[in-house]
Structure formats: structure tokens, C-alpha cells
């Protein structure tokens, strides 16, 4: 991660580049690990057709589904297709079908954005091409197995804040966690940690940023 210094001003740690999926390593609870989840996907690739499963990473907004999928795609050395509300669905489906023809696991971020015909097509083609599907969704889609359920707990929250403020003065972290802005934001956004971190961009700018232009 490269931090730019503009006129001796340190980057705001709550900027989008530090909060985008994959920027903060995913933290697992219990004894689960990235390798074991990747193994489940790989084993589905090698299993007989009738045992192949469709897997889903499920959880509310801002709890790390996209981050986990991105880590899995790096671990499995395959690409994940990300679907936004404004994505061109035709292009996205075409990309996924190409990945299927290469016999790679198909990772789809934002499965719910696909139209019904798109989902039907991809499920059918995944069976024909014998590749596993792994998607992110807010709810478990029909006929999918749960790969991982993301949620925010104090351990995850602490890990994220520690990562973001690793280079900052230790007092800043305690100021942040004790601030009213943080408390209000967590109450407002609840499970959605990302939105709370976004709100802290304003807090950092107004409280911590000390601008000193060199002229």
C-alpha cells in the first residue's frame, strides 16, 4: 500500500483506497481459514457431477463478503466477476461463461444483481462445464450451500481499526473509539462496518488532519 504525502499531509486512513474489498485482510472466526474454504471449492471441482455444489458467501452489507471472495480468487488463481447495480449484465455473464470454458471455478460477487434468466443460464452452464459456482449474496440462494456467513463482531471490528490505524498515533485510536461520532455511526449502521468507517473519513478530516502547506 503506497501512501501519498501531499504537502506533508498524511492520507486519511478512511479513504476509499484503504476500505475497498481486499485492502484489509479478512479475519476468520473459530478455526476456519482461507485454505480450507478454497479446498471446499476445489474439491467440488473434482467431485462427480451429482456431488458438485453451488456455494454462497452470505452476510449483510459491509461485512466482508467481497473481501473474502477476493482473497479466494487470489488463492485459487482465478478471477472473480463483480456485479454492480449499473454493471452491464451481458458483458458480465459473457465473462463468467468464458471462465467456465476454461474450467476455472466461477466466483461471482453480487449474484443477486443477475436477472433470473442469467442465473438460470449460469447454473445450467456450470453443470454442463462441470465447474463449481461460488457467489456472494445477502441471503442464501435456493439450492446453494453455505460456504461462509460474514458478520461483524468485536474481534473483527478491532482487527479492522488496528489495520487502518497501524501508522497513526495510538491516542488517535482511543479518541476514535471514544468519540460520539463513532458510537452514533455504529448504532446507525449496525452490521455495516464499512459505512461506519466511511463516516470516520469526516471525523479524521475534521479532528486529526493537520494540514501544513509547504510554500
Amino acid at each position: 500500500m503506497i501512501k501519498d504525502s501531499v504537502c506533508q499531509n498524511v492520507s486519511n486512513p478512511f479513504s476509499s483506497r484503504f476500505l475497498e474489498p481486499g485492502a484489509i485482510p479478512f479475519v476468520f472466526r473459530d478455526s476456519e481459514s482461507l485454505a480450507s474454504l478454497a479446498d471446499r471449492i476445489r474439491s467440488s471441482l473434482e467431485a462427480p457431477t451429482k456431488h458438485r455444489v453451488k456455494l454462497a458467501i452470505v452476510g449483510p452489507h459491509g461485512t466482508g463478503k467481497s473481501t473474502l471472495l477476493r482473497h479466494l480468487s487470489e488463492h485459487l488463481d482465478c478471477t472473480a466477476t463483480v456485479l454492480h447495480a449499473t454493471s452491464n449484465k451481458w458483458i458480465a455473464i459473457d465473462e463468467i461463461l468464458k471462465a467456465m470454458r476454461r474450467k476455472q471455478p466461477c466466483l461471482i460477487d453480487g449474484y443477486e444483481q443477475l436477472p433470473l434468466w442469467g442465473k438460470t443460464l449460469l447454473i445450467a452452464r456450470s453443470k454442463v462445464n462441470r465447474v463449481p459456482l461460488c457467489v456472494t449474496s445477502h441471503r442464501l440462494p435456493w439450492d446453494f450451500e453455505l460456504l461462509w456467513e460474514t458478520r461483524i463482531d468485536p474481534q473483527v471490528e478491532t482487527h479492522v481499526i488496528d489495520t487502518l490505524l497501524a501508522d497513526a498515533d495510538p491516542r488517535v485510536k482511543s479518541d476514535l473509539l471514544d468519540s460520539q461520532d463513532w458510537e452514533k455511526s455504529r448504532q446507525k449502521h449496525r452490521e455495516n462496518l464499512r459505512e461506519s468507517l466511511f463516516d470516520m473519513y469526516d471525523w479524521w478530516r475534521d479532528t486529526v488532519d493537520e494540514f501544513s502547506p509547504s510554500r
Binding site: 503506497i2 501519498d4 504525502s5 501531499v6 504537502c7 499531509n9 492520507s11 486519511n12 479513504s15 476509499s16 483506497r17 475497498e20 466511511f198 473519513y201 469526516d202 478530516r205 494540514f211 502547506p213 509547504s214 510554500r215
Partner: protein, 123 residues
């Protein structure tokens, strides 16, 4: 190690940006390509945007002709926009980046920011 020499902290729009770069402690034979760019980027709450104003790539024959014992000079006129800016939701900053690509897959990068214009904060 890459050193950038001669960059000023501030430039005015339309000024000519001149600097030199040199590389040390690197086997010259292992350099596969060199890229030098002058670009602006946004930072803040929005997805980052990048605008490349100047880009030079040296590889193959053009790379072989370079004498790495002397500093390489770069000169480019700066545009009138965008000016460096620090606002509430976004910041715009300029920087010079020099990347060396080595034959073992390693990438060395040096980056130095600079300011364009005289605007320091949101209006």
C-alpha cells in the same frame, strides 16, 4: 534503489516539470523495462481516479541504449488542470512515478508527490 532528483515541491500550471532519476545497487543487466509517468490522482471517499499526463516506457532496443551510470532526464510541460486540491470529499494530488521491472519479476518503484497551483483547501 531509485532516486528522483530535481523535483520542486510546487509548480504552476504551464510550468515545465524537469527532473532526473537514477538507479543504484541494481544489476543493469536485469532491467527488463522502465516506466516513467507524471500523473494526477484523486483520493477520498470516492473511487480513486487516475489521469496520466506523461508516460514513457523504455524496453528492448530503447532500453539497451541507456547509460545507467548517468542520471536520466525527464522534461514535460504541465497542463493548466487539474490543480492540486484538498476538499471535503476528495483530494487531487500530482506525482511522479518511476518503475523498474527486473527479469526475476521484481518491481522497484519510486514516487514523489508535488503540488500544482496555489489552492490549498476547499473554497
Amino acid at each position: 534503489m531509485i532516486r528522483l532528483i530535481g523535483l520542486q515541491p510546487t509548480y504552476m500550471p504551464g510550468d515545465t516539470l524537469e527532473f532526473e532519476y537514477r538507479v543504484a545497487n541494481v544489476d543493469r543487466g536485469s532491467i527488463v523495462a522502465v516506466e516513467c509517468s507524471v500523473c494526477w490522482l484523486t483520493e477520498g471517499k470516492g473511487t480513486e481516479d487516475l489521469g496520466v499526463h506523461f508516460f514513457q516506457r523504455l524496453a528492448g532496443d530503447s532500453l539497451a541504449a541507456i547509460d545507467w551510470s548517468i542520471a536520466q532526464k525527464i522534461s514535460c510541460p504541465l497542463p493548466i488542470s487539474p490543480l492540486s486540491y484538498e476538499g471535503k470529499l476528495l483530494k487531487i494530488s500530482w506525482c511522479v512515478r518511476v518503475r523498474f521491472f527486473l527479469n526475476d519479476g521484481t518491481e522497484l518503484m519510486a514516487q514523489q508527490p508535488f503540488y500544482v497551483g496555489t489552492i490549498t483547501r476547499e473554497v
